[in-house]
Symmetry: C3
Subunit: 308 residues, 3 copies
């Protein structure tokens, strides 16, 4: 998430009432989660296991829970609960504002669109040209819909990320303030959900077609001309390249990459990166030709055991 | 379900036009399904296999399809079709009443709530304080929402139980007249369904967080601080204790108990009770460490068969 | 799809600006996809692999991408892109017309129905008697709902088929112009989707009960008194006969037949025709008694390998 203007390290530290190290005039342009961090931005880290990753990331300012050596040219803000400090910043600069009308503030829309009845549109939504938004769809804050996009009935685009931090008194939700972007010619079926980026963008690439009852998690980035059949579930922070086909009820765990031209057969579970051009099957999935051999062996197993 | 006043055994038997045994002044306070039955209530049984369970349950009155010895202090009502008699009572005392306005009758709501556009709220709904009901959500009859609850766009809270009795002319639906209770700090994602108790309560415990496209069946009782990822499906009459994590696309059959601090990995199928603190995987699931060994052996199987 | 009047082969060929062979006065009554084709109708074929099937089908006119010998009494229209020609005809004779009101044109409704708030109804929808359409449901164009039907909150009946043709510049959607028919006593839960036939009919048979979050694809025909539990996903062009039970999260691939009185256990994947009266389990599924033996053997596998 980019701020509307540039802030200094000192300004943000004062906003958090926390001590800082580094040049007080260090310029801060935004805030992002570690997966999406860009130069000029703030990131947070609250476990020594991830200190190195955060300090060596593109972030210029790190919210951290103990004093550490500051990388050259960067700043740190030391606070007991970096997750909470991060949330305090995002909530301040991008607060949730309830929708009181079926169409929110700062709505921009192009030409030749069909918005069906009972559609609800949040704040800061942009819709291009020649789009169809079917009945009952909900388009949440900060959704960007390009041209020739079709969204099916009762689908939900851009709802909160499912991202919580365990605290002694229960789960604390990470405030969602990123965007959801549907590129040209994207089609989404009925009753599908595309979650909004936490601080970055969830992106559905040009020409990708998604069936009914599909779920795509926050910050997942999907390429061009993919085809996802019904009941597919894709977690957050996944990368899917171009021309990928996922058949019905496939599940994909977070933080994996599916390379271009991959096909995943129905009901498979993807728990690792998948290589370009291959076909996969099984839960957990492996290459289809290997899995088919295993399944054939499996069928012979009771007879073999009897013979032993 | 509790009646609005106390009835006598004789009154209910007359309402059903059926003979009864037991003290005609026996007090009846409500009616419930066998899983939820409490003292003072009516239960039904229509198969000799379950007679003992029903007659020895907490029920004070049993609707039964043949004359049997009446347990001391209890009553029976003998009717050819106890299921139909049960439905006749629940339909009479808690009839469905169509909603003609976006907000039903007997709606109680606290302070500082955000109800987004295109939300529909049924009869006898209570909402506490500081809740957010996102666009398009449907809150059905007899839903109780406590404080700080968030319900995602187009989710449906409190729809009918999926509970049918096979009859010669097709399936007869059990009339739904229980409640749905979401405790403090519960969060439900977009496009999720939490079904209403048949005659008892479906309960989502304090602090439990549920992702998008999750289904929870009727009369299921879920504890505190659980985390259910997207596309999880939980049948009716399940008990899930505290701090249980279900990853994406997990399925749980009816009538099982998942004890506290259990983790079930993605796409697993739960068909039995799960023990406290353990991790499970597979369909049907077993302990993860056992299943991982089986999977490793499975991969070696084609080679082993070749060698034999 | 039937046309509103009969056309001649010459008229349709001129509409497509394409050469034809056969009697120019050959009567054309409609257009259909190969799975649903009836005498008097147009079908398309664009791959030599399927020429024979199309030419020998019930179709009287075949849109085809090269000149072939014309079967006696039939006609062909030769065009470079038969898929596009087919779409051009269906789009012309059955164009999508945006809905600007919550109830579309040509809406016919019987007596004693309850239509809850925030329901949206498209064009050419017929509803019989004694139906309940719960809040937020979307009933799309050309849906026929018979008597005593219940549709759950936010369900979507009759959305587009998920049917695309790969082209060099991305996927082209097959225009949907068939119907969706829910027979007497059908009940659909919350957040379920029943897709519309492409040019034919998607049919849910009399007395069939469908739970929440179930998906049924285009042109699938389901018999009487079936029971589908939550999260079931059924692809397009499936045939399911009578009294079939699918437990939770079952998936069914396209173009298979499940015969009467079959039960498929939870999370199974159906990839082939299933025989009458049998029980199936597994992904891919097999007969339950066989699969249970395989699973028992599977559990012994690590020990057996250790012993070898």
């Amino acid at each position: 998430m980019k701020f509307e203007r540039t802030y200094t390290l000192k300004e943000i530290a004062e906003f958090l009432n926390s001590p800082f190290q580094g040049d007080e005039n260090l310029k801060i342009t935004g805030i992002n989660e570690i997966h999406k961090i860009e130069p000029g931005e703030i990131v947070f880290v609250d476990h020594p296991k991830y200190y190195k990753k955060a300090l060596e990331s593109a972030a210029d300012v790190i919210l951290i829970d103990q004093d550490v050596e500051v990388p050259a040219g960067k700043g740190i803000i030391v606070c007991a609960a970096p997750f909470d400090a991060f949330n305090k910043i995002t909530r301040h600069f991008s607060p949730d504002k309830p929708w009181t009308h079926p169409t929110g503030d700062h709505f921009e829309i192009g030409e030749n669109n069909s918005i069906y009845p009972n559609v609800t549109i949040g704040h800061h939504v942009k819709i291009g040209n020649n789009c169809v938004i079917h009945a009952g769809a909900v388009i949440c804050d900060h959704t960007i819909i390009k041209d020739n996009v079709i969204i099916g009935p009762n689908s939900v685009i851009g709802h909160y990320a499912f991202y919580y931090k365990k605290k002694p008194d229960g789960f604390n939700r990470m405030h969602t303030c990123g965007r959801t972007i549907l590129e040209d010619n994207v089609e989404i079926g009925a009753l599908s959900t595309i979650d909004r980026g936490v601080t970055g963008d969830t992106i559905i690439g040009k020409g990708t077609k998604i069936d009914n009852q599909v779920h795509v998690g926050h910050d997942t980035v999907i390429g061009e001309n993919c085809l996802f059949a019904a009941n597919v579930g894709i977690a957050g922070c996944v990368v899917i390249k171009n021309n990928v086909t996922l058949w019905g009820q496939v599940g994909v765990v977070s933080d994996v990459t599916i390379h271009s031209n991959v096909t995943v057969l129905g009901q498979s579970g993807v728990g690792m990166d998948l290589e370009e051009g291959k076909s996969y099957f099984g839960s957990p999935c492996g290459e289809s030709r290997v899995k088919m051999k295993e399944l054939a062996a499996f069928k012979r197993l009771p007879g073999i055991i009897e013979n032993l």
